[in-house]
Symmetry: C2
Subunit: 231 residues, 2 copies
């Protein structure tokens, strides 16, 4: 952990693999379970607290296979004792309820998108009934959701789901900026996101994630503002 | 037109039919072209400036049929001379490019969604390539788009499309609030929408639309803040 200028511990979440980049883009991307465990252990020893995890098929395409997630979870629990493991239920790795097939593994956390938005070339589809089903699985298996807020209404929706019991406990909201055709990296919006979280859910924790060239910018803003951040 | 407290004319846009309500919900909903023309004329004579139009099939289900839109346009031009006619390209009335089949009729305006979001029971899908195609048809036929901002990133996206030439002329942005699973009626967000439009597109005009019980609230806020509004 890092101590922010506001004196509060900053949680660093490492997205070790993601669903898009491949070896041909960057040979250092960890793709196999063994590579992922090794890379996460290095990040853990360097101070990261949360590992945000995707798994891949042998051809490097994204997967939601619970068996692969299970092996990753086992490797991380063994090599990074105490690290918080967050599994992705994102839409690039599967369709419909496939996206939540790994929740019965009871990871510490899982990502949860509560609204829909555009991505660079398509719609990121999170229909209301799927969102509710993923949230109910997370309640059942006591998995802490990280809300992926790709837009402002997603914060409102998370608060509503928290208030009516669809999401249990204190909210953990991640602001995602810099995705083409969704929310750009914009300082005023970033500040308004924080203001909105503090107004509607004062107990919540928040985290900033910038995509591509926006990553370092969002890291700086989030740490300075007393939030958590994603690398 | 109405003069707001800020001394600027307020454009009142009447959504005469919409895509959802039917005679069984409210017998006063104008469904046939003749009913729509009659109802719009009454609104026009009462001071409305823009007619936001949907057309229906004989069984009242929503339609994108260019022939129906053509007859409505003709009736409105005849009975409401000078009124601005805005045709809906919304997603409830058709799929894909069907949604823009009426743009070649060269209405004054058409609605344009530039992002995706959740609706009460489904995803409102506006994939990037369809958005770009609808925008290019509007440029080709000189149709002024009304941007439907269901979320904050939609304002950013409209500004980007305006700056890179995909949307011509001064932006006209409508804030839509009160749709379940999208943006609720929220005063701080409403004010931030205005602030964002003024910051990123100072020349733009904006309009507030509240759905269902939020309608009157948004009308009041929009008129008081010097914007336009939708009934
Ligand atoms: Zn991810
Ligand atoms: Zn995070
Ligand atoms: Zn409409
Ligand atoms: Zn309007």
């Amino acid at each position: 952990m890092t101590i922010s200028s506001q004196g509060k511990p900053c949680i660093i979440c490492v997205a070790i693999t993601g669903s898009v980049p491949r070896k041909e883009h960057n040979p250092a991307v960890p793709v196999s379970i063994a590579e992922q465990v090794e890379s996460t252990q290095a990040a853990f020893e360097a101070g990261a607290t949360i590992a945000h995890c995707h798994v891949r098929n042998d051809d490097q395409t994204p997967s939601s296979d619970p068996e692969k997630f299970g092996r990753l979870l086992e490797g991380l629990n063994k090599h990074c004792p105490g690290m918080i493991v967050q599994l992705s239920t994102g839409g690039r790795s599967g369709a419909g309820q496939e996206r939540g097939g790994m929740l019965s593994l009871r990871p510490d956390m899982a990502s949860l998108s509560v609204g829909s938005n555009n991505f660079p070339t398509r719609v990121y589809e999170n229909p209301p009934d799927l969102v509710d089903w993923l949230a109910s699985e997370m309640r059942q298996y006591e998995v802490k959701p990280e809300i992926e807020a790709f837009d402002l209404s997603h914060i409102h929706q998370a608060v509503k789901m928290n208030q009516d019991g669809r999401i249990a406990g204190k909210l953990y909201v991640q602001f995602v900026m810099g995705v083409k055709n969704a929310m750009p990296v914009d300082r005023e919006t970033f500040d308004f996101y924080i203001k909105t979280v503090k107004r509607l859910a004062p107990e919540a924790e928040w985290c900033g994630a910038g995509i591509g060239p926006g990553q370092i910018q969002i890291n700086e803003w989030a740490i300075a503002a007393g939030g958590h951040t994603r690398t």
